[in-house]
Symmetry: D2
Subunit: 112 residues, 4 copies
C-alpha cells in the first residue's frame, strides 16, 4: 500500500497534475470509475454476476485498479490512511451489527 501511495504521488508530480487533484475532483473521478464497474453488472442476474468470463474478469481487474488508485489519491490528499480507516470501520460495524442479532436475517437486509 505504501508503495502505491508513493507511485501515485510521483505519477501526478511528473505530469504536473496535482493542480487538478483537489479532493472534490478526485471524488468525482472515483465515482466515475466505480460506475464503470457498475456498467459491467447492470443487466446481469446476481447469478450471472458470479460466473464471469476470463475476458470480463480481466476488464474488471483494470476497473478495480482504477478505483483503488483514485481512492488512495483521495485519502492521501486528505491525510487519511485507508487501510487503517477500513480496520477501524470493521470494528464499528461489528458493534453496529452484532452476530446474534443480524445472522442471516439482518433488519438491514429484510426491512423490505
Amino acid at each position: 500500500m505504501e508503495e502505491l501511495i508513493q507511485k501515485l504521488r510521483k505519477f501526478a508530480e511528473e505530469r504536473d497534475w496535482d493542480q487538478f487533484h483537489s479532493p472534490k475532483n478526485l471524488v468525482m473521478a472515483l465515482s466515475v470509475e466505480v460506475s464503470e464497474i457498475v456498467e459491467h453488472f447492470q443487466w446481469l442476474t446476481p447469478e450471472q454476476s458470479q460466473e464471469l468470463s476470463p475476458d470480463k474478469l480481466s476488464e474488471l481487474k483494470d476497473e478495480i485498479g482504477d478505483v483503488l488508485i483514485y481512492l488512495i489519491r483521495l485519502a492521501d490528499k486528505l491525510g487519511i490512511d485507508p487501510i487503517n480507516a477500513a480496520l477501524e470501520k470493521i470494528e464499528k460495524n461489528g458493534k453496529k451489527y452484532p452476530v446474534v442479532r443480524v445472522k442471516g436475517k439482518s433488519l438491514k437486509y429484510t426491512e423490505y
Copy 2:
C-alpha cells in the same frame, strides 16, 4: 491488506451474509458508499475541499473505510488482488499518458 481480506470474509460468514454478497450487489453497495463521500463535497469549492475541519475528516475517514471494505469484498469475490490490479494499472496509465505529452496540459484535461 491480507488481514483486511480475512477479517471481511469472517465478518460475512459469521453473519451468514454471503448470500447477499453477489458481485452485482456488492458493486451497488460500493457505489452507494462512494456517493456518501460525494455528498460531503457537492457544494464546496475545490479550495474549500482542501481545508476540511477535523470533524469532517473524521467522518470522511469512516466513509473511505467503507469504500475500501466493499472494494476488497468485491475483488475477493471475483478472485482479483486489488493491490496488484492497481500496480498494473499504473503501468498501463504511464504508457497511455507519457509525461512528455501530457505534462500540465493533458488533452484529457484540456479538451473542454
Copy 3:
C-alpha cells in the same frame, strides 16, 4: 415540465442559492440523489425489486422527485430542454438497436 423549471428557478433565487448551482455542483448533487435510490435496491433480488411495499414506494417517490429536480436544474443551467433531449435520444437509440437485430437477445445484453 415548464412549470417545474419555473418553480425551481424561483426556489433557488429566493434562497440566493444560484451561487452554489454551477453545473459541476449540480451534477454531483444529481449523482448523490440517484445513489439514494440505489441504496433501496442494493440487497434486493431483481424479483423483490418488483414487489415493493407502499412505504418503500412512497420513499422512492420522494427520491425520484429529487432526481428529476436536479436533472431539470442542471439542464436549465446548460440551456438544454430535457424532454426534447430524451425524444431525440430515443430516435438515435432506435437506429443503434434495430428491433430485427437485438430482439430478446441483444449483443448489448448477452455479451457476457
Copy 4:
C-alpha cells in the same frame, strides 16, 4: 412526458427487453448514465463548467436524454408519476428550507 412514457414502453416491448428492466437493473443503468455526465465535469473548475463549448453541450444533451429515459422507465415500472413526484418534493423542500432561515447562507451549505 406522457408521450415519452408511451414511446419507451413501446421501445422495450418491440425489443423484448422488459425481461431486463427490473427496477434493480434500471436504477443501475440510471446511475451509469449519470456518471457519464459526471465524467464531463470531473476535472473542470466550477467556472469552466459554466462555459462549455457547443460540442460539449451537444454531447451533454445526449447524456441528459439518457438519464431522463431511464428515470422515466424506472418510475413507470414503480407506478410513480415523476412530474408529480417532483412537484410534491418541491413543496416539502420549501418547508424544510424556509427562505428566512437559509437565504444565501444555508446551514446545509455552510456547515463545513
